[in-house]
Symmetry: C2
Subunit: 251 residues, 2 copies
């Protein structure tokens, strides 16, 4: 999304050390599938096996893997451990990334409690909150620190990834501070559109949006006939009482 590099015309211009965004988004899924296979003691897997485990079709998987190189063997399949290492290296999780979590509400709390953030490759170096009553609280083996210490921590620990789990209100300010401190990747759980300068990547996770997408499809399944086919057109400013939809989900 944020990475749509503008390239010159001609052929799809795939490589050039650039992997399509859609493929990048699936690599972690393949990585997990490979880990599962490896844990089951399976040493070799065909694209069909892998695709099943990852929930995609095999042609797509093969094409995705082809962007990384030719790591399979025709007639045989892929060496699970080898491919796993190659994908991990390509994604960048063979090294450790320092992460700070800002906003220790319900959600921040929950994330902090994930064992090592659930995934190797990432290391939570600080839990930050501006609320003095939270500072000092222990969560697992960490202690909540004052948001004012952000710059200091980012510099000391070379933090490149920030997770925002504050309410919508302060999210943009927190984001600006993170960016100013040198953070270049942000995972945002606050229900707002954050704006960041070029060179900073941002991804958003929004529970209420996911639910609303499900609701749309749900409505088309059950409704189909129960819905007015011609959209009812209440006179301007005269529509029925409307609940405040679209509200926030932030911690």
């Amino acid at each position: 999304m944020t990475r749509a590099s503008s390239r010159r015309p001609g052929p799809p211009t795939r490589t050039e050390r650039g992997i399509p965004e859609a493929t990048v988004a699936r690599l972690p899924v393949y990585l997990r599938a490979l880990t599962a296979l490896s844990d089951s003691g399976i040493a070799t897997a065909s694209s069909e096996d892998l695709a099943t485990a990852a929930g995609v079709n095999s042609a797509k998987l093969r094409k995705d893997l082809s962007y990384l190189g030719s790591y399979g063997t025709r007639g045989v399949g892929y060496d699970v451990e080898y491919l796993r290492y190659q994908i991990a290296r390509e994604i960048g999780v063979t090294q450790d990334w320092a992460v700070v979590i800002v906003g220790i509400g319900n959600l921040g709390h929950a994330l902090a409690n994930y064992s090592g953030f659930g995934t190797r490759g990432f290391r939570i170096v600080a839990l930050l909150d501006a609320d003095p009553t939270l500072v000092g609280e222990r969560i697992g083996d960490m202690e909540v620190r004052d948001f004012a210490q952000l710059e200091e921590i980012v510099e000391a620990d070379r933090v490149s990834i920030g997770v925002i789990t504050t309410p919508a209100g302060p999210a943009q300010d927190v984001c600006d501070r993170l960016v100013a401190a040198g953070v270049t990747s942000i995972l945002n759980f606050a229900p707002v559109v954050l704006s960041v300068p070029d060179g900073v990547d941002i991804r958003k996770v929004d529970l209420s949006i996911e639910l609303q997408i499900l609701a749309y499809h749900e409505q088309r399944k059950s409704g189909e006939a129960a819905l007015p086919q011609v959209p009812e057109l209440p006179a301007l400013n005269g529509m029925p009482d409307l609940p405040s939809v679209g509200g926030g989900v932030g911690a």
Copy 2:
């Protein structure tokens, strides 16, 4: 994704009461932007205003809205309240959807505590867990109930949406039970690929995948020169010690 209805050829065949998936995913964002504008007392907004608030470009926004109908006025813009109602109706959040949350670990706990799940249009009717030591615990104004009561609850409250916040292990079983009980939309936080029959929509939220996508881009920013351009090829089964990447994030 799950809703790729196969249609006959010809023109893009947009309407037919079908809105492109990419557009559906943005409607909730527009809804939130409209709510914000409405709360600021703004009665009318141009596509440019709205697009800025929603973080998209105005041409895309106009095209998205055109799938719903002609709700704007040329030379003027859109009536904020009116458009908000139309989008809410199209998404389906003018009615209330009953939701159950299964798996009251850290994350389930956090979700349960969101005020009314953060968004009107959805109503949490039950928090379920199979762990007897959790059953009976009060969270907000709700009480954790036994997972065994699932079918009963789904039927009684006409639950159509289920949220899975269990660890990876039991997730598929929970999913099967939900589907069997009559749930037709699932929001999955467990780090596994769930398989569901046709007619059931599933969406996945996966923190570790989001982080890994950020890591990939981060690596290309900082690495670029520090990385071996030619992928190092450790002999088969002879690669360096590899941390167990791709692990889970489940509660």
